[in-house]
């Protein structure tokens, strides 16, 4: 029986190998000559950057197959992509986007305002729709505000909104303003075939969960990319990714979490590689359960906050890939982040506060999701937090759980350590979804934060079109959060990526998007 089984397997082996020889040859060319002939490049990412025909976007923005109307820079400011410029009228109830000229889709057809409108209308039709990258919300309201219409007017795209939206370009930036040829979509809203965009690359081949092959788009409106073929492999295991880089099988590692914090130093020390560390939208937060004792007492929240050594967490545990947390909005938000004083580390004052308020009899629970311990050293961070709290007189224990949602909804935690990110420059998103008195996060996860003052500030900011006034409102909201402490930022995470020294032109924006079209071989 065994022999028969082995025989069958070996026969299958032979057949498979034969079929794959041609693929293998081309792949090896890509890996080994990529940096030299300038034609081909092989990269690896932790996840599949292609999601397929049933995803709202088909591919991730990073692959540069499609382009959005608006994108963000490294400070999350909205910057033009397919829209050359935009203007608002009627206090932000009407926004008009002027399109870049001479842009064609990869099928040769011209980009028109009508095509953009068709994309937005498709989004509204298929929402809510989960995505591997950025889920479409119900009715798109959270993204766009209450949209009453979107029309093509004399070659421009005009959005009309029921209520003023101060930062529509920022909210649209990235996925929510993707533009593909309307011919790419079937009537159901799924993709009829492959993606048809305006970016420097087209998707030539996709093996789900394994690799995507990009080839240069002959109709691209900008400068032709230096690499005419890029293969992006999926290597989920962090050690396997670095091994593939060191063995010369791939020329670089990109995307969110490409290098773990603990891997950066060793790779950066080798002159054969160049590590690019840029600020990301990811922030590590500590969420308090203020709906029960002991953290319903603001003095104990303050004590816990003062007990934390953010510098040690950022520099030691996160190996210098993060900066100590301060304002609720990370520096990636530019001037929207409150420039106020950074939170102090004052264990003595923390002890006084605990003595004054009375230490709890039961240890407080620091909750960590097991899913996140693979990406960041959260068990270590939680241990350090536990030690700091105990020094301040607050007994604590760490609980690593798979389904944190049910634990939190039962209110059975005191502190929750987790990382959050925003995909575009929409500051309103974090405040409204997490901390407004009626926010899903706040209510369902039992944060117990109720502040009419905070609610009013963010509601006003969302409809204030004057940039300076809006910024001031957000600064006030953040100072309020710094005093009330429903959620405190621990560290702002960078996203380190790496290429061999033979690849130049590597830039990454705050939303992990690497512009593959700008990569160039270094001679």
């Amino acid at each position: 029986m065994l022999l028969a089984f082995l025989g069958a397997v070996l026969a299958a082996c032979g057949a498979q190998n034969g079929a794959q020889d041609s693929v293998q040859n081309s792949v090896q060319d890509g890996g080994q000559n990529g940096g030299q002939d300038g034609g081909q490049l092989t990269l690896a990412a932790p996840r599949d950057l292609v999601a397929g025909p049933q995803d709202p976007y088909y591919t991730h923005q990073t692959l540069r197959v499609w382009e959005p109307l608006v994108t963000v820079d490294d400070r999350l400011r909205p910057v033009p992509a397919l829209a050359a410029s935009w203007e608002s009228a009627q206090d932000g109830r009407r926004w008009t986007f002027t399109l870049r000229e001479g842009v064609r889709f990869s099928d040769g057809t011209t980009l028109t305002a009508e095509a953009v409108v068709a994309n937005i209308e498709r989004f509204r039709r298929i929402a809510p729709r989960p995505s591997a990258f950025f889920s479409l919300d119900a009715g798109m309201e959270a993204a766009y505000g209450k949209l009453t219409g979107v029309r093509a007017e004399a070659g421009k795209v005009a959005f009309t909104l029921e209520e003023p939206v101060a930062d529509l370009p920022g909210r649209l930036a990235g996925f929510f303003s993707m533009v593909q040829s309307p011919k790419a979509f079937a009537a159901s809203g799924d993709f009829a075939g492959g993606p048809v965009g305006t970016g420097p690359y087209t998707l030539a081949e996709w093996v789900k969960g394994q690799r995507a092959v990009l080839t240069a788009n002959p109709h691209y409106h900008g400068a032709a990319p230096a690499y005419r073929r890029i293969e992006v492999r999926v290597i989920p295991d962090a050690n396997a990714r670095v091994a593939a880089l060191q063995a010369g099988e791939v020329d670089g590692l990109i995307d969110k979490g490409a290098l773990l914090p603990g891997q950066v130093a060793a790779v950066a020390a080798d002159s054969a590689y160049r590590v690019v560390r840029s600020p990301s939208v990811l922030t590590h937060y500590l969420t308090f359960n203020a709906s029960r004792e002991p953290f319903s007492d603001p003095r104990l929240r303050e004590a816990a906050d003062l007990a934390i050594d953010r510098r040690a967490i950022a520099e030691k545990l996160l190996a210098g890939t993060a900066r100590p947390g301060g304002a609720f909005l990370s520096p990636a938000f530019g001037d929207l982040a409150d420039p106020g004083p950074a939170p102090a580390c004052d264990p003595a004052r923390a002890r006084e506060l605990v003595t004054a308020a009375g230490a709890p009899a039961e240890p407080v629970t620091i909750l960590v999701s097991s899913a996140e311990t693979g990406q960041f050293p959260y068990t270590d961070v939680a241990e350090v937090l536990r030690a700091a709290l105990e020094q301040a007189g607050l007994p604590a224990k760490v609980s690593v759980v798979e389904a944190t949602k049910s634990v939190m909804e039962a209110g059975d935690y005191d502190l929750f350590l987790s990382a959050y990110s925003v995909p575009n420059g929409d500051a309103d998103y974090l405040f409204r979804r997490f901390l407004r008195s009626d926010a899903a996060w706040n209510v369902e996860r039992r944060l117990g934060y109720r502040s009419p003052e905070f609610d009013e500030l963010i509601d006003r900011a969302a409809t204030t079109t004057d940039a300076d006034a809006r910024r001031d409102l957000y600064h006030r909201a953040q100072r309020l959060l710094a005093a009330d402490r429903p959620m405190v930022p621990l560290a702002y995470q960078d996203n380190p990526i790496v290429t061999t020294a033979k690849v130049g032109g590597v830039t990454q924006n705050a939303a992990y998007v690497v512009d593959l079209g700008k990569l160039v071989p270094v001679r």
């Binding site: 397997v9 299958a12 889920s135 919300d137 093996v207 995909p423």
Partner: protein, 309 residues
């Protein structure tokens, strides 16, 4: 004989039915709300209305028993549901990856059986040589080191250091070598211990002495005669080793980016893509049950003593 087979078939059906209930409960009772986690995968905190709508769409709001029956009927029709992650049919994706895992498992089985037979024959021929003792030592060491560590060692020495073989993927015939070694070594150690001891025992039996007295060359005595006598225990153990290969493939496929069902299962677990996890558990469990059933039937056919029981 027919009666025995019939009884076995009924037993097998009951086993599979029990298995289906377990597989279904295992994933249905897992904590957490897949609908919300699905929506959060894009980094967005969904609204309760979104979550409720998706729960209804996925049928998660129906009673457990109702979900089980409709799930089982679908499975019998070959429909393993749609992936939560990208809504593609699960059956197609799992089936496409089964041959890839079988290729790895087959190569690993070859490593396990081949190494065990070669090393035990060597030890049988020269029981007191230095190499034989080293083999014993290495066997113990390999059993004690987890495959993950062996894999990382092989990657850093052979793939990164010598650049002799790829670090991962399934491109080209060389790619299977390191994962197959990693996956096959523990099985090889297990089989080797059994076979080596049984072979030594067989060589002490009178027939071996007769062969020596007759002037038969030791190599022929060991390979042709003694090995056959020593084989039964190892053959039985091979079945178990094969079953373990499928389970072990999860770790090894992740480490070596081998695009088989194990890798699929790991990414599905990370994403809480329950239909895929369910399909993986179902397929591997059914395969194991079937392999063991076939082994039992074969044993019945071969050995009259089993038939009489």
């Amino acid at each position: 004989m027919t009666a025995v087979l019939l009884r076995r078939a009924v037993e097998l059906l009951l086993t599979l039915l029990t298995l289906s209930v377990l597989v279904f409960l295992l994933t249905s009772l897992a904590p957490g709300d897949p609908a919300e986690e699905l929506l959060r995968r894009g980094g967005v905190q969904p609204t309760p209305a979104d979550v409720a709508a998706l729960r209804a769409e996925l049928g998660l709001d129906r009673p457990l028993a109702e979900r089980y029956v409709s799930w089982l009927l679908d499975v019998l029709r070959g429909d393993l549901g749609r992936s939560y992650a990208d809504r593609s049919p699960v059956a197609g994706e799992v089936l496409a990856r089964v041959p890839v895992t079988l290729r790895l498992a087959g190569a690993a089985a070859l490593v396990a059986v081949g190494l065990a037979v070669l090393a035990s024959v060597w030890a049988g021929l020269r029981p007191h040589s230095l190499v034989s003792r080293a083999i014993g030592f290495v066997t113990v060491a390999v059993t004690g080191v987890p495959p993950y560590v062996v894999g990382i060692l092989l990657i850093s020495v052979v793939a990164v250091g010598l650049r002799a073989l790829p670090t991962g993927g399934d491109d080209g015939p060389g790619a299977v070598v390191l994962p197959a070694l990693t996956l096959g070594l523990p099985g090889a150690a297990t089989l080797l211990r059994l076979l080596r001891a049984d072979l030594a025992g067989a060589l002490r039996l009178p027939f071996a002495r007769l062969a020596a007295a007759k002037g038969l060359r030791p190599r022929r005595t060991v390979v042709v005669h003694a090995l056959r006598v020593a084989a039964p225990n190892a053959v039985t153990a091979t079945g178990l080793v094969l079953a373990e290969l499928v389970a072990g493939a999860v770790v090894v496929e992740t480490l070596f980016s081998w695009p088989g069902v194990g890798q699929l299962a790991v990414s599905a677990i990370r994403q809480r893509d329950l239909p895929v996890v369910q399909a993986y558990v179902l397929v591997t469990a059914v395969a194991t049950v079937l392999v063991l059933a076939v082994a039992e039937v074969l044993l019945t056919v071969c050995d009259p003593r089993v038939r009489r029981r």
